[in-house]
Assembly symmetry: C2
Homo-oligomer: 139 residues x 2
DNA sequence: CAGAATCCACCAGGATACTG
DNA sequence: CAGTATCCTGGTGGATTCTG
């Protein structure tokens, strides 16, 4: 069994929250699940830049952290659906706020972040899809 | 000059926000600055687990991203004060929400996170200090 | 007191292949 | 369709040292 060598800082509320959201795709996955994108294959379609393995890893972590729960349908081919727990739902206002903040300041942020020599190019995303799905649900 | 080899995903609002908050101490630093802990030495005292270098790196990044601004007093010994820009202030509701969410769910989260085999021990923090400073200001 | 340069350990995340 | 095992690379953050 693997053992982390460096202890994490999880004492302060900020750090606890940061820890739980720590993962390249976790906020996006929570967002997706909240919008009824519940199956791993659908999430992969939504986040084509992620790999199956990484999504599985992060989903497992979030399940272990009590943010999502997993329902397995004993079929062939197998079917799995994730859903947000109450704890996961309670996180959505923060996710939404992050989404809105980023969108509101997009033009400025893209400018300053792109000046950052660390960043070379931007990649396409499926966030518009999120929004489309969202609107479809409302209709 | 260093060039990042892997492009980042910064297209979606969520990713933009994640990008600017991406750094072990950034939320804590924003929180500190918002509570009038403006000088690097004071931040170091507040976050004794961080090193001068890392704080400086993350402060520089946040300055480049327009979240904070820096005032240099031409003295000896040198004196520097950081403060939040309007953009930085606009992020504080999110930081606060993260802080509150973590505190509200602390008991549960500490349980499940500690079960996580990746984590070995918890480290002390200065978050209580934040709150004390905050209350002192109000008094 | 503040900052920058160098060096490096660690680990998150990606590639790939295989199983049920 | 979903999950897991193995291997590997890049980069974050820490340690140390030196400057003004």
């Amino acid at each position: 069994m693997y053992e982390r060598k460096i202890p994490l800082t999880i004492d302060c509320g900020l750090h606890l929250t940061k820890e739980v959201l720590n993962g390249k795709w976790k906020p996006a996955l929570l967002n997706a699940i909240s919008m009824e994108v519940k199956r791993p294959s659908a999430m992969l379609r939504l986040l084509p830049e992620a790999t199956r393995r990484v999504l599985a890893v992060q989903l497992n972590e979030m399940e272990a952290h009590g943010l999502i729960s997993k329902k397995i349908y004993p079929q062939l081919p197998p079917k799995v659906e994730y859903s947000l727990t109450n704890l996961g739902w309670s996180l959505m206002p923060i996710i939404d706020a992050m989404n809105m903040w980023g969108d509101q300041n997009r033009s400025f942020l893209e400018k300053v972040i792109r000046q950052d020599p660390k960043i070379r190019e931007t990649s396409k995303s499926a966030c518009e899809l999120h929004r489309m799905l969202h609107l479809q649900k409302k209709a």
